[in-house]
Symmetry: C3
Subunit: 416 residues, 3 copies
Amino acid sequence: MQGPIESLIAQCRPGWSLERDFYSDVEVYRREMDGIWRPGWLFAGHGCEIPRAGDYFTLEIDTDSILVIRGENQAIHALHNVCRHRGSLICDHPSGHANRLVCPYHQWTYGLDGSLLACRGMQDNLDKSKFGLHRVQAQEVEGLIFISLAAQSVAFDTARQSLAPLLRPQGFARAKVASTMDYLVRANWKLVWENNRECYHCNLNHPQYIKANFDHYNADDTTPRIQQEIAAVVAQSETKWADAVLAPAHRQTGMTVFPDAEHHIWFSANRTPLAEGYASESMDGKRVAPFMGDYRDASVGTLRVRTLPNFWNHASCDHGVSTRLLPAGPQLTAVRVWWLVDQNAVEGRDYDLAKLTPFWQLTSEQDWRICERQQRGVNSSAYRPGPYSTYKEYNVESWARWYLNVMREGVGGNCQ
Amino acid sequence: MQGPIESLIAQCRPGWSLERDFYSDVEVYRREMDGIWRPGWLFAGHGCEIPRAGDYFTLEIDTDSILVIRGENQAIHALHNVCRHRGSLICDHPSGHANRLVCPYHQWTYGLDGSLLACRGMQDNLDKSKFGLHRVQAQEVEGLIFISLAAQSVAFDTARQSLAPLLRPQGFARAKVASTMDYLVRANWKLVWENNRECYHCNLNHPQYIKANFDHYNADDTTPRIQQEIAAVVAQSETKWADAVLAPAHRQTGMTVFPDAEHHIWFSANRTPLAEGYASESMDGKRVAPFMGDYRDASVGTLRVRTLPNFWNHASCDHGVSTRLLPAGPQLTAVRVWWLVDQNAVEGRDYDLAKLTPFWQLTSEQDWRICERQQRGVNSSAYRPGPYSTYKEYNVESWARWYLNVMREGVGGNCQ
Amino acid sequence: MQGPIESLIAQCRPGWSLERDFYSDVEVYRREMDGIWRPGWLFAGHGCEIPRAGDYFTLEIDTDSILVIRGENQAIHALHNVCRHRGSLICDHPSGHANRLVCPYHQWTYGLDGSLLACRGMQDNLDKSKFGLHRVQAQEVEGLIFISLAAQSVAFDTARQSLAPLLRPQGFARAKVASTMDYLVRANWKLVWENNRECYHCNLNHPQYIKANFDHYNADDTTPRIQQEIAAVVAQSETKWADAVLAPAHRQTGMTVFPDAEHHIWFSANRTPLAEGYASESMDGKRVAPFMGDYRDASVGTLRVRTLPNFWNHASCDHGVSTRLLPAGPQLTAVRVWWLVDQNAVEGRDYDLAKLTPFWQLTSEQDWRICERQQRGVNSSAYRPGPYSTYKEYNVESWARWYLNVMREGVGGNCQ
């Protein structure tokens, strides 16, 4: 890398893509881990994956294995999955159920909240209260679990207050996971986000997605016919739903503006209408599962949630799709995609995976291919930052500003 | 690495092999990329691979993907394969045909010469003339394409004037590719060259090659019988060919002296007789394809061309074999070998791959194994530079001097 | 790594496990290579693998390939497997037989002791006496071969005097290799040793091992019944064997104390009784091969040998099992396990691999899984050194002290 990170940040021009080193340099990556990924609130998984006390899943953040486990009274505990005796991993399954957390090496035994209960074979004067598993901050909001590796307590209230009302009718807390797919995308995590923050690429790359949505129309190409169409769809919903939470919040073509770089707003949710004839983000627009949550009608468009640095979700009346990013190196991102349906839906009877998953599987994989091609290009010595479209890439520009602000300040990207 | 590159260079003794770090150190490799591979003229491929306007192939040099494309009026364009918008790779196929170069991400569209033709969705005031693809220097000489990533214009005239007359009768511009083979050789690129620059290793390693050639006889072991044999073969050719271009230029046993380290001569070509009974470098010495180029007779021996840092070719009356090196790391070299025949030759009727390819496939693969074994050995802490044979390794010595001169001066190895 | 190695060493608290960087940092690894692995005496293999002059095997230590070959008069030569001409590896097979060592590149030819015999093609004034293969120190003691890459001569006499009498009756010099298994364990070599130095983990991890042995009982859990049992077994042996070498030297439960960190004692051997009913470390305790060496009776318990930094062996009356570690990176260890039986034993008639190998194959693989899980845990930013059990991990504590002493002094770990 040419010079320190500060001078690299200073080189970036507003309205232009980032400098090359941001996508490959190992020092930049370390700074991101320490300044964004460790302090920030990260989406970990869904509460419905661990409904009973003792249910757990694990995830890897940078060098760390984190255990997310349901405790007594529905509490969520996030713990470093590392024995306090000699450092062995405690659970090496990606998910499971345990009444006690027993280290497989020497059977040190912890409670679901990480407290050390037993360590047979150790000297009697060992003070067990000092050897509980190191704790990680955790929050559950309407069925979504977020964690933070920050040493200091990090506020979550504003995010909760903003997200909860919009999330509630979707019923993720009463959902079940119908399918998951895991990807190792050979691209820097920021390329994945930049791709997510614009629909300029949608027309030719996402033939399925653009049939269902209005995002790819922008100030330069929204025709009167399209304006009429979206107005009609919006009106239809608003008539039906007096409730502000169910009525569309995003009434134009193009994408919702996010993030808000200047105010460090790292979360947002909104409801967006689907195209005429689309009850769900599915291949033919028809419902692919029973209604979720409070919905009794398909006219709710899509609920869209996104939280920086690692989560987005598109949810229709019948199913929701979550995407979680976890960097695995400067040029590698581990991505998991979940399909969620109502907890009472039965596969084969109420839904069919062959109809549920293709819309977002195709759209996701189309994007991973784009990101990998871009990574190979930005690695070139000939790569130079290029100009963003003011019509179509306003969110990429906001995203880059958010990122540069956080990197400049050297503190957590989503501390409120 | 012990100390900076300069002191490493200073440690090298004339007549002895290079110090260990030259074969594995990452700083040495970076210096080579910047001082030899980027500024130098690199063999890219054959003009006959891209005969029509819009035909292209790509290759990887260091971190860069380069697109070599035939333009209008037979022009050759070499372009950085990186979109000026957000840096995506434009062509991710190794070869193909395109009327326009359209970036798959947002459809920015370029002409065959790299000029930006369209970027729908961008603001109107964008000056398209400033966003053409970054150009790479390219030259075609008698069907061989060379490129240079140098920022400054690099002279090619002397090379062209020297090589063209010798290349012309071979007719590579009127050839076709009959076969290619790709290798990832786990050895530093210099080990591959050092192996190429001597035939001391031929006797036991290349049983096929030594039957056809005189290279492996040297001052210490050329017997009167061998001298008579080569004199007879030379005389036969000279009688037939008054034309200096077709008559053998190299009339002794042993290898042509190359490179000329003191004058920075990075290219050479010469004609060398084959052993009695050999019409072609084939397993049994018989022709394996129709005559190429201007040849109407097998008595033309072999035309041999080599250019530093990455190309050599052995061509008989009926076929030519090109070898291209591209470093892929301090201990990894990507090698492509091409077999070329006359453009009108038809597989199955005029030539048979099972007869065409074995001679050089075997000889090449024998060498790759040698190089990989040597890499493992020079990695040892016990490796110390050893003495070159003055009889048999004079060219390795020249090669090492050429290399050290270029590294010392820190500029392009083959700038005339 | 936080600061230099010295400050890292200074951070370590007696009685607690090592700091995180010791298990992953590349600078620590380099220091270990230079301070422990290169100067130290390393177990290389068994003399019975290379019985005749010209028999050889190779092994990789750090970047170096070492050739261990039987010379004339039963001498053992250890040589750098690197030609003095241009550095090629000479033998690239893991084992074989050669009357002369001929480099495959240019046929430089060496004797079994590494002296250069011929280099045809070189100038006449080359002084062959200066181009013998670089030698490595080698010692054979009762069929076990040790080597040292130290530049200076390293004493071996004390080790030989201590080990030889105990090794002799086992007859490794008159043995044969019945089977070998190779593993690449994804863990730092020290985790493998720390695992080896305690049996606190045995109860649940080694169901086979604990049936045969008393190691897993310690001061905190040895009941009178167990004390009686071991006393009975010991008494039985002592009655039979007046000879101190055959009688058990370790008469308690728990593991022999090793290493002796303060006196740099890097080797030890002792005889330990097996549980009642166990004639051999086999699945059912029955013999699985004919008696080895001088044994005529099963009441010899197990002979146990260990040498730092890379060897241990458990030998019963009928077979011995050797384990050799070779680091292949900060988080990777190459392990080979050998099963040895009497040289006259015939597979199928005298022994059956399906009965011979499972006991130690299972026990070994159980340990590799433990070590790999621990490596993943100690990589976590949440890992902190934990307390050792004074009852059960006294040897791990000694081991850590030995290691830190050697690292602090920056010299060979096992120079007497």
